[in-house]
């Protein structure tokens, strides 16, 4: 029995041996294949990571910031200590106004090997983009020396000038940017400046240029061009700009309002009224729509109905000249002269403030570092109830001169108004006119 079993075993082994040989060959091939796969996985991962980085750079250049962030985050997963990736992430975060995140990535760059001047430049851009012009001269010199970075620098400087309402400098910056790079954003911004310089035709030309340059900017460009053309009393041309946006007329109150204004000017009053009513339903807190609805009734001769709408508008923005003026007209037409006289006085005050503001902003162009001018501008905002604006101007004044007494005093008024009396007392004391601390 035992011998028989041994013989069977030997036969089985003999039959298996050739198969075993094949099996060994297969095993060897499999091992070789696995080793090749492992060997290829490393360069493949590297290649994929590099592709992500390139895609992120491309998305950043084309202002697709969300996509750029996603791609770069994927790259950083595999290359957590890449200087270039962290620097690009800082740039993306800054442009998306995530300043703290940008600062984190720059801090990371500082502990990684890489050019320190890139980090310094990016820090300057972060500071400047938030309205601080302390590094203005350094940035201009960088823009001249490094044309590849100039568009980024000009964009940032333009934002800072806008925050400080320095129109001349903003215009010069945007002209330099456009000379270097035909960019839709630069044209849109220059259009904004030109409107404030009362060059509305120039503004329209810039908006149209922006529309031509970049399809992604076309919506904004058309709306702004439409608004500027309405101001120039060219409703036909305005309508031509606005009509392609008509699908969004109720969703976006600005588009809806501009379209209604164009129709109104072209005599399509009923269409304008229907659209404005729909807009009021959809956006009851939009002051400009309520005001336009009131103006439409006023022009149609229904002063009583206009009054209702205009009172609502004045309630929303009591310091807005256009609303107070329209309400005063409605009252005059109904011979409500006593109330109209009161409004006239208010109008005079508002006009005086408007003139003063125009004078101050004109002087600011030549004296941007004068805290007193900034403080006066803030006081006008305080008078018109725009507390947040007032606060920002006062802070900018105190940044220039931390001991500026008038700004401290105005800040005390601001804090009293928002019911923070202890902080107000602190500023009053710093202004040198405060009560002694108990």
């Amino acid at each position: 029995m035992n011998g028989m079993t041994r013989a069977t075993g030997r036969r089985l082994l003999a039959s298996l041996l050739p198969a075993c040989g094949r099996w060994r060959t297969w095993l060897a091939a499999l091992v070789l294949l696995a080793l090749t796969a492992v060997g290829l996985a490393v360069p493949y991962r590297h290649w994929r990571a590099e592709a992500s980085f390139a895609a992120a750079e491309d998305a950043y250049r084309n202002a697709r910031l969300v996509e750029a962030r996603e791609r770069l985050a994927a790259y950083l997963q595999s290359q957590p200590n890449s200087f270039a990736a962290h620097l690009l992430m800082a740039r993306i975060s800054r442009r998306a106004r995530y300043y703290d995140e940008a600062a984190i990535h720059l801090d990371i760059c500082e502990i990684l090997p890489g050019p320190a001047d890139e980090v310094t430049l990016e820090r300057d851009l972060i500071q400047t983009q938030q309205g601080d012009l302390a590094r203005e001269a350094a940035l201009w010199s960088q823009a001249r020396r490094r044309p590849n970075l100039a568009p980024d620098i000009f964009e940032t400087l333009a934002q800072a000038y806008q925050k400080n309402y320095l129109l001349k400098r903003m215009r010069h910056c945007l002209d330099s940017w456009i000379a270097l790079d035909k960019n839709a954003r630069a044209h849109l911004e220059r259009g904004w400046v030109r409107e404030r310089e009362q060059d509305h035709h120039g503004a329209v030309a810039d908006y149209r240029q922006a529309r031509e340059l970049d399809a992604a900017a076309a919506r904004e460009a058309r709306l702004k061009a439409g608004q500027a053309l309405l101001f120039l009393k060219k409703p036909v041309e305005a309508l031509a700009e606005l009509e392609p946006l008509a699908d969004e007329k109720t969703a976006d109150p600005k588009i809806g309002l501009a379209l209604a204004q164009a129709w109104h000017r072209l005599g399509r009053t009923d269409d304008a009224r229907i659209l404005l009513d729909a807009l009021v339903q959809e956006h009851p807190q939009e002051f400009a729509i309520v005001l336009e609805r009131g103006r439409l009734e006023l022009e149609q001769g229904d002063a009583a109905r206009a009054e209702t709408w205009l009172r609502r508008a004045v309630e929303q923005m009591p310091h807005e000249h256009s609303a107070v003026y329209a309400l005063s007209q409605a009252l005059q037409r109904q011979k409500k002269l006593a109330e109209q006289a009161k409004l006239q006085k208010r109008l005079k005050d508002l006009e005086a403030d408007m003139d003063l503001m125009a004078d101050l902003t004109a002087r600011l162009q030549n004296h941007p570092a004068d805290p007193a001018l900034r403080c006066e501008i803030a006081k006008i905002f305080l008078r018109s109830g725009e507390n947040r604006e007032a606060y920002l101007w006062l802070k900018s004044a105190l940044r220039l001169d931390p001991k500026h007494a008038a700004s401290h005093l105005a800040l005390a008024q601001y804090y009293e108004r928002i019911n923070l009396p202890a902080i107000a007392a602190g500023h009053r004391q710093q202004a040198g006119k405060g009560r002694p601390t108990p």
């Binding site: 957590p80 703290d100 995140e101 600062a103 931390p402 202890a422 902080i423 602190g426």
Partner: protein, 431 residues
Amino acid sequence: MLKLAKNLLATIRRRPVRSCLIMAVLAGASYVACRQALVWRQYFEACRAGERGDFAAAWEALQPCLAAWPGSASTQFLAARTARRAGDLQEAQTHLARAQQLAAPAEDVILERYLLRAMSGELADVEPKLIAFLDKEHPDSVLILEVLTQQRMNDFRLEEARALLDRWLLLKPNEAEAYVRLGWIDDRLGNISAAVAHYQKAVELSPERDNRDGDRVRLRLTELLLDLTQASEAQPHLQILRERRPDDPAVALADIRYRSLVGKSQEAAALLDTLMRAQPGNARLLLERARMHMGSAEPEKAEPLLRQAVALSPRDRQVIYLLTQCLKTLKKKEADIYEARSKEIRNDEQKMRELMQELLRAPKDAWLHYRIGEIFLRNGFQRDGERSLLTAVRLDPEHSQAHRALAAYYEKSGQPELAVMHRRAAGKGTP
């Protein structure tokens, strides 16, 4: 098996040198593998201890890892983090620098550096960045919350700290430390019932952690329950405290208060007298004994005790109040003086409440922190006062009044170098 062993022996006999060499290599490899396995075990033990908040154990477990793997970035990083969490910031700095040299992930190094800076008193500089980490749901969010909540609590930004604690509990619903901190905030704000509920939850969730930390939560919980005259609820906690901390005077005082509450006044008085003999300069004990005397209509016995307590704690509201009552009962004119002081303290409390309300809306206003610090110092809360004034000068390095107040404080507390530094800074700052 036997055959295999026989074959092996035969092979060894046939080739003894080669066999010995193979065996030596195998033995060496096994030794190295075992050692590494043991070090890995220590590494994981350090991670686990860190997670349960036992930093001393974590630090101890890390030592063999640091010895075995001095060139490991992750070990150096873990050591830095553990040292920081244990409060050893210097050690943490050293290990973090080493981790950075060894190319630990730069983002982790920067985060850890921010946490270190926050704990070193530079919260204002790094707070927005830490919030940015939280907003992008960083995996270390709990560690960030641990530091941010503590620092905000230190700066008396209590409601802001509470908001972060709620966030912490969303991430880790059974985190005892978060409940301890919520309890502390409510305790500070005078929401006693809420504080009790939070402390109770913390003790339930992690009794061993509190035991390790000296039963401070259980003790405070017991004191608050006694304040609320909930003697039966306090009793089980007191029982545990008596067993674990028989020599702690705070536990003894709680025990006395408990006995007094359940009607064992004589026992309580006897115990208190014994305790007072052991600690004659303890204002809390003096107050408690005086209270007992007042309760048993013996104001003349209470008066000397209260005068002693006032000398020790001149701005303690309870002591001043009881002394005023005592002097009034004894028809002494001096009562008016203490009544005025009591009024001053009440005014300061009211002012403090108003300032705290403003602080909720403007947490980074240096002036508010200065005023709060001033009131703290005036009322004898030296450490709190110092901390508030330091926050004020951190927020506004040129805040002259805060610098002046700090200079005066450091002069009084015998730190002339710091006093000179702040007096100099006061000269440069805003008026």
